[in-house]
Amino acid sequence: MDPLFQFLLRLGDNTLVLGHRVSEWCGHSPVLEEDIALANTALDMIGQTQLWLGLAGEVEGKGRSADDLAFLRDAWDFRNVLLVELPNGDFGQTMMRQFLFDAWNVTMLGKLMKSSDQRVADIAEKASKEAAYHVERSGDTVVGLGDGTPESHARMQAALDYLWPYVGEMFASDEVDAAMVKAGIAPDPSSLRDEYDALVTRVLTEATLTKPDSKYAHKGGRTGYMHTEHLGHLLTSMQWLQRAYPGAKW
């Protein structure tokens, strides 16, 4: 498979799956301002998905649209990291997951703005403005809840402990990444780790949270080798109408 196509799927599937997860909160969040903010975040994620998967379809050259890629692939063809497909849990877990992803996304997009592929650079430029806002908001929430009450602190620490083993996958490198580096399209993910760690450490410290010692990293999402059991259920609802009524225009 074309490495650029793979690479774009990874970006688009991350935002698609995370956008879906965040949208599950609609009408159920702790306070009205959060309903608005979560819907807005989900909307940005879906917007980025349209761009990444749109370009992926173009690069593939088989006439598949962003919708075809989103709604008509099965779980094994999805290339998102495992982190984004994990269930929402409580609001703290949702916001911790968002922060851990946003911090990666903003770092990655910053580099992609200098991509040798102008189409990638253009999308990155647009998306990075949203990502900068997202990481500020999710970071603030992690700080507010981490350094809030004993209960909110305990919940945020539990969320961090649960999610931390899924962070490492965002920095794993393989032959797709090597091809991207060679073509000057994208940096090696492992090269982003220091910048990411600095950002995450700063926020977690302010949040009075303890970064787990474990270096263990679950993997299998971005290669498609082994997703979690959660992804299939997510796709079942997401893809239902397209699967049940093939060929219909909506």
Binding site: C26, H28, P30, L32, D35, Q50, G144, G148, S152, W250
Partner: protein
């Protein structure tokens, strides 16, 4: 109209010669179409009625997220998903805007939410009906927002300044939603037979609940008179309902869908469409809490509030710590 059966906090209309000087002056301002602003003097009953109406409207926007949210994760294309997310976000924004308008009258958002959760305040009956197929989402935009706009366009002229200004802004967004909803329905009405069936099913199910949004007949609406005199309400329930029917029937015909009920006929003499009454007993059942989704909707909101308590407490605690730190510096 996301506000129905608003009980005016005064029975009957006060005759002019029974008004105090202050009340008479107030009524004169209303009659001159002057806007009443938060710091102006106003009768207690005017204030109480407005709080009920604006509060119910705000609750409707918030609870209204639920039937639409029911389909966000199943939206059939990325564009439809984005449109729906943006719409639901707008609605939560309207809720925020309206709670703020209520706050200018001295009622806090927390208090209004408490009254909602205790079942002492209502939201629009329409949101106690389920969204069962994707066309319902189009129909909610087309019929429900469409009906709301008919009412809210009139409310742009309401006498209370902050409410009136909120309506101007809200109407702009609602019109956009209604057009998007109609477009989604069009796509289905002109789509495959299965899609057309979904569109027809949605229209049939939501037609009467949309009619009910305007509230009971004027003749049965005991609280309207004083609200009309105060220009809290600007047009009567029956006037607004007729306007909605007249604008919607041609749209149904354009879509090639069957009319949702046999009573709909053009009346040459009146220059309006005739139509059947919704089942007013059903309406009262829904208002009393026995609609198909009342229990679920309220439980969902209550759960969101309860589950969110630690979040609100945590963020408040942090804000206090931060403020204390700043003060110490």
């Amino acid at each position: 109209m996301y506000a129905q059966l608003i009980k005016t906090a005064r029975s009957g209309i006060t005759p002019r010669d029974e008004m105090t000087d202050q009340e008479r002056e107030f009524q004169d301002r209303i009659d001159r179409n002057e806007k009443i602003e938060p710091k102006d003097w106003m009768p207690d009953d005017y204030r109480a009625t407005l709080i009920r109406q604006i509060g119910q409207h705000a609750h409707s926007e918030v609870v209204g997220q639920l039937p639409e949210g029911n389909w966000i994760t199943r939206a059939p294309t990325l564009e439809r998903k984005a449109i729906l997310l943006a719409k639901v976000q707008d609605e939560a924004g309207h809720g925020l805007y309206l709670y703020s308008a209520a706050e200018t009258l001295g009622e806090s958002r927390d208090e209004l939410v408490r009254l909602l959760h205790e079942g002492r305040m209502k939201y629009s009956s329409i949101f106690n009906y389920p969204t069962l197929n994707w066309a319902d989402i189009g129909a909610v935009g087309w019929l429900v927002d469409g009906a709301a706009i008919v009412n809210q366009v009139a409310l742009q002229r309401t006498s209370y300044g902050p409410y009136s200004r909120a309506m101007v802004r809200i109407c702009k967004e609602e019109s956009f939603h209604a057009r998007q909803g109609y477009h989604a329905i069009m796509q289905m009405a002109f789509g495959t037979p299965a899609q057309k069936q979904m569109a027809q099913d949605a229209l049939n199910r939501l037609w009467f609940p949309a009619m009910m949004m305007f509230g009971p007949h004027d003749s049965d609406s005991t609280h309207s008179e004083q609200s009309m005199a105060w220009k809290i309400k600007v047009k009567s329930n029956d006037e607004l309902r007729q306007q909605f029917v007249d604008q919607t029937i041609p749209q149904i015909e354009y879509l090639g869908l069957d009319l949702p009920e046999p009573g709909i006929k053009w009346n040459e003499e009146r220059g309006h469409y005739d139509f059947s009454d919704p089942d007013w007993d059903e309406f009262m059942d829904v208002i009393r809490g026995n609609g198909p989704c009342n229990v679920d909707r309220l439980a969902a909101r209550q759960k969101a509030w309860d589950d969110g308590e630690w979040v609100r407490d945590g963020l408040m605690a942090h804000a206090k710590k931060k403020a204390a730190k700043l003060a110490a510096e």
